[in-house]
């Protein structure tokens, strides 16, 4: 069989960084082909080359056996390659129809005929007159797909489409993908969620550090093999030992459910006896007449990992920023060990000796200063406690050297601007700083987003260590499996409100998904 799209010996570098090195790939008709790889493996670069945004330094691209030169996104779509990016490119103040027609010269009549045909063919339901700003993320995704199908795409590229989805929304997307496959088109699917990958794809290609590793048939592989190929063999031994221990735990829980529940319920009993560390009562935040979150109440016990789940933008991030004193709330109370924190600033927290660690979502934009070195970043909060008006960098330099060793941070030296370091190292510096003060409460917002597997497990281990020390953690996460595995209780938020707080031993992914959509008690109903 002749491939629909064929990439041969593609090279691409940015400055000294080799993003892709001699990558060859064939995509056949009617298949869902997953490209798997860690962050920085070159997935995005590959997509950008296919969609005409980057020109490869070397190598050739053939479509339907014909050699092509994709020098702009227009070239790509006219050759039948349509891309749906992770961050949607839709105009919010326009309707679905207007967005689809953007840049096209079709008349109304032709449009109606063509779109009706497509909607029927792929069994898609959407209101063409609805404004994008009134749509959920899932609906917007469908509009994006519709847009590229309308422009005649035969090969659909989906870049991490399910990152912000509930399992239900993802299922809906998969149905459309299967339909596209049946219509003898192909889908290139980018993801790092293993279970999804196994579920939906026909073939899986693994990239690692810009190199093409292998293409595998779904039937003849396993999650273990894929993980191994993705991460590579030559990983630092120390981390791997830790990671494998964690993975063993993971396997134990998933293989032997009874045992793990037993263990957990024991912990629970112990937990309920302990004191409440922080109690939140009816707090609300309104910014620019928009309600960010409303009437939120919960408590976190000492030594508990408290998870927060929700579709991105449901108010989790703002809630955590409010707890950390970065945002001011006007209504409700936050009581930390019997002391009311409402309306107090970060500086007052520190003066009162309230040990609160906070890892915000935007690491370089909020938690750290990119152009400064490790030493200056480590003193970001603690410098205020010194009485003298001058800075004393010495203790922070020692702390920086200690941290580099302890967390295995890769940096030329501690006086190197941190923005040149990789995401994982940046996160280690941030987390390292926050746990150094030995916080009673550690608030983490998407702490593993964009990090490689090794660093993820380092961070999960740190979270567990904090729990063992008797400290509490509030963990805002995306991966529901990890949330269920790691947390004692999970609070699900939807549109700025708490849907429910569930014990993680009673939680399943599906149930959490429904709660994320705002359906109390997780009963099923019409989605979307």
């Amino acid at each position: 069989m002749k491939p629909l799209v064929s990439l041969k010996n593609i090279d691409k570098s940015f400055g000294k960084v080799k993003a892709l090195c001699d990558v060859s790939l064939d995509i056949y008709e009617g298949e869902i082909h997953t490209i798997l790889g860690e962050n920085g493996a070159g997935k995005s670069t590959l997509i950008n080359i296919l969609s005409g945004i980057y020109a490869p330094d070397k190598g050739e691209i053939s479509i339907f056996g014909r050699k092509v030169n994709l020098s702009s996104p227009r070239d790509a779509i006219s050759n039948g390659i349509g891309t749906v990016y992770q961050h949607f490119k839709l105009v919010e103040s326009m309707t679905v129809k207007e967005n689809i027609l953007l840049g096209q010269r079709d008349k109304d009549k032709d449009f109606n005929k063509k779109i009706e045909y497509i909607l029927k063919k792929y069994d898609i339901k959407v209101n063409l007159e609805k404004y994008i700003e009134d749509m959920s993320v899932g609906e917007r995704q469908i509009v994006e797909i519709l847009k590229v199908l309308y422009r005649g795409a035969k090969v659909l590229i989906l870049d991490e489409p399910t990152t912000v989805f509930t399992p239900q929304e993802a299922e809906k997307l998969f149905n459309i993908m299967r339909k596209i496959k049946e219509e003898r088109c192909s889908v290139i699917f980018i993801s790092h969620k293993m279970d999804e990958v196994i579920k939906i794809s026909n073939r899986i290609s693994v990239l690692r550090k810009g190199n093409f590793i292998k293409t595998l048939d779904k039937e003849r592989t396993s999650i273990e093999e894929l993980t191994r190929l993705m991460v590579g063999e030559n990983v630092d031994l120390k981390i791997r030992k830790r990671e494998s221990k964690k993975e063993k735990d993971f396997n134990k829980t998933s293989n032997n459910n009874e045992l793990s529940i037993d263990k957990k319920s024991e912990e629970k009993r112990e937990l309920s006896l302990r004191d409440v560390l922080i109690k939140v009562e009816g707090i609300s935040l309104t910014e620019d007449v928009k309600k960010v979150f409303n009437n939120i109440s919960f408590d976190v016990k000492k030594g508990e990992i408290f998870g927060i789940a929700g579709i991105a933008g449901s108010g989790q991030r703002e809630l955590c920023e409010a707890l950390a004193g970065v945002r001011k709330i006007k209504k409700g109370d936050i009581i930390f060990e019997g002391e009311n924190l409402t309306g107090k600033s970060v500086r007052e927290f520190m003066k009162k000796g309230i040990n609160l660690g906070f890892v915000p979502e935007d690491r370089l934009g909020m938690g750290l200063v990119g152009s400064m070195d490790m030493v200056d970043n480590l003193m970001l909060k603690s410098y205020q406690l010194e009485k003298s008006p001058f800075l004393n960098r010495k203790p922070f330099k020692e702390r920086a050297i200690e941290l580099v060793k302890k967390l295995n941070i890769k940096t030329p030296d501690v006086n190197y601007p941190i923005k040149y370091l990789s995401g994982g190292n940046i996160q280690k510096i941030l987390l390292g700083r926050e746990i150094y003060i030995n916080p009673k409460l550690l608030i983490l917002v998407y702490p593993v987003r964009g990090l490689d597997i090794n660093t993820c497990y380092t961070i999960y281990n740190i979270i567990n260590e904090e729990r063992e020390k008797g400290n509490s953690v509030i963990f805002v996460g995306e991966d529901l499996d990890i949330l269920i595995e790691l947390c004692d209780r999970i609070m699900v938020m939807s549109r700025g409100e708490v849907t429910k707080i569930v014990d993680s031993k009673d939680a399943t992914k599906e149930k959490l998904g429904l709660l994320m959509l705002g359906m109390k008690d997780g009963e099923s109903g019409e989605i979307c």
Binding site: G15, V326, R347, F358, P360, M366, G370, L380, Q384, F390
Partner: protein, 351 residues
């Protein structure tokens, strides 16, 4: 052919490339200038040697160059302070004038002190006037979210017209036979000389050290840098953004105000509309070219002063029109500023 050469982003801008590119751009500027001079039938070699001679050729000329460098250094330090916080204060010109005004009030009307006390009070008054004048833009920005670039620029014109009004109106010297000028300062209100130049140069050197220590080794300087990098990080760290902004902008204006004091008391001997003479604008360029690093401000300011002094020398010695000298200055600036693209990108030739 067009596709043969491409701009490729450098991984990281290192110091040496930066300096190398800037030096090459200066050479390029001189090369273009040479072509221009040849067009005027002047030997470029004579012109350039003339400029160096004019700037450093004799003790008198060195003194002149120093006098020109001092206001540039101090004002650039003021601009640097605000720019570190990404507060775009381009109102150095107005703050210099208001500083000079602050010094003049004391020198002309409340001068019943001995010389040292009077000079210290004049410096203080100049700093307060310059600082408060700059604060207008900070307060408007904090409470009404106005754009500080526009506000500081507009305040320049207000200050200029205000001094013009004083000079032609209420403060006009009746003894000057109708000539529109403000009365000279009494002798005790003039800055003393050291090594033939008014002590402004010592003040400038001290200020470089003080600003360096403040920006790099104090908590407030650190907070200014954090606010400049990211307001959200500043909020995260619990920095009082309003208070630090007010302090920072006040200091920025105060430094410019001190320039006004030195220019009126040490150079002009009185207040006049020409006192700022574009220093407030040149200082922006110097602060920028120095990469907001205090020690470089000294070097760049001296080079700029030499350029000014050297070109006014060849103006008379080679009979080049003044405008030609200005063209050379602008060419150098143009080349250095446009060289920026080569510090962030490099050219790649297709193999």
């Amino acid at each position: 052919m067009v596709n043969q050469v491409r701009f490729v982003r450098r991984d990281k801008v290192d110091k040496y490339t930066n300096i190398k590119v800037k030096l090459i751009s200066i050479v390029a500027a001189f090369f273009i200038m040479s072509l221009f001079l040849i067009m005027l039938k002047i030997n470029p070699k004579d012109a350039f040697i003339g400029m160096i001679k004019g700037a450093f050729g004799s003790p008198l000329r060195i003194r002149q160059t120093t006098i020109k460098a001092v206001p540039l250094i101090i004002t650039s330090l003021g601009i640097l302070t605000a720019f570190k916080m990404k507060f775009w204060n381009i109102g150095g010109e107005g703050q210099i004038l208001m500083g000079a005004f602050g010094a003049s009030i004391l020198a002309l009307f409340y001068n019943g002190f001995n010389s040292t006390t009077l000079l210290l009070l004049m410096a203080l008054s100049a700093a307060v006037f310059g600082g408060l004048y700059a604060l207008i833009s900070a307060v408007l920005k904090i409470y009404f979210k106005t754009n500080e670039t526009i506000v500081t620029l507009m305040l320049n014109y207000i200050a200029l017209k205000f001094i013009t009004y004083l000079q032609y109106g209420p403060w006009k010297d009746k003894k000057a036979l109708g000539f529109p000028k403000i009365a000279n300062f009494p002798d005790k209100a003039l800055l003393p000389n050291l090594l033939g130049v008014n002590v402004g140069w010592i003040i400038a050197l001290i200020l470089i050290i003080l600003v360096y220590i403040f920006m790099n080794h104090t908590k407030k300087g650190y907070e200014i840098a954090i606010i400049g990098e990211s307001i959200n990080t500043a909020r995260y760290a619990g920095i009082n953004i309003k208070a630090v902004t007010i302090l920072c902008v006040f200091l920025s204006g105060a430094l410019c105000g001190i320039t006004g004091f030195i220019q009126s008391s040490g150079v002009n001997g009185t207040l006049s509309v020409e006192i700022a003479g574009g220093v407030g604008y040149t200082a922006i360029i110097i602060a920028y070219l120095s990469n907001l690093k205090e020690p470089f401000i000294l070097i760049v300011s001296v080079l700029f002063a030499a350029l000014l002094q050297g070109s006014s020398y060849i103006e008379t010695s080679l009979k080049i029109p003044n405008s030609a000298a200005l063209i050379l200055q602008s060419l150098i600036l143009f080349c250095i500023l446009s060289s920026e693209i080569f510090t962030t990108y490099r050219l790649k030739f297709k193999d």
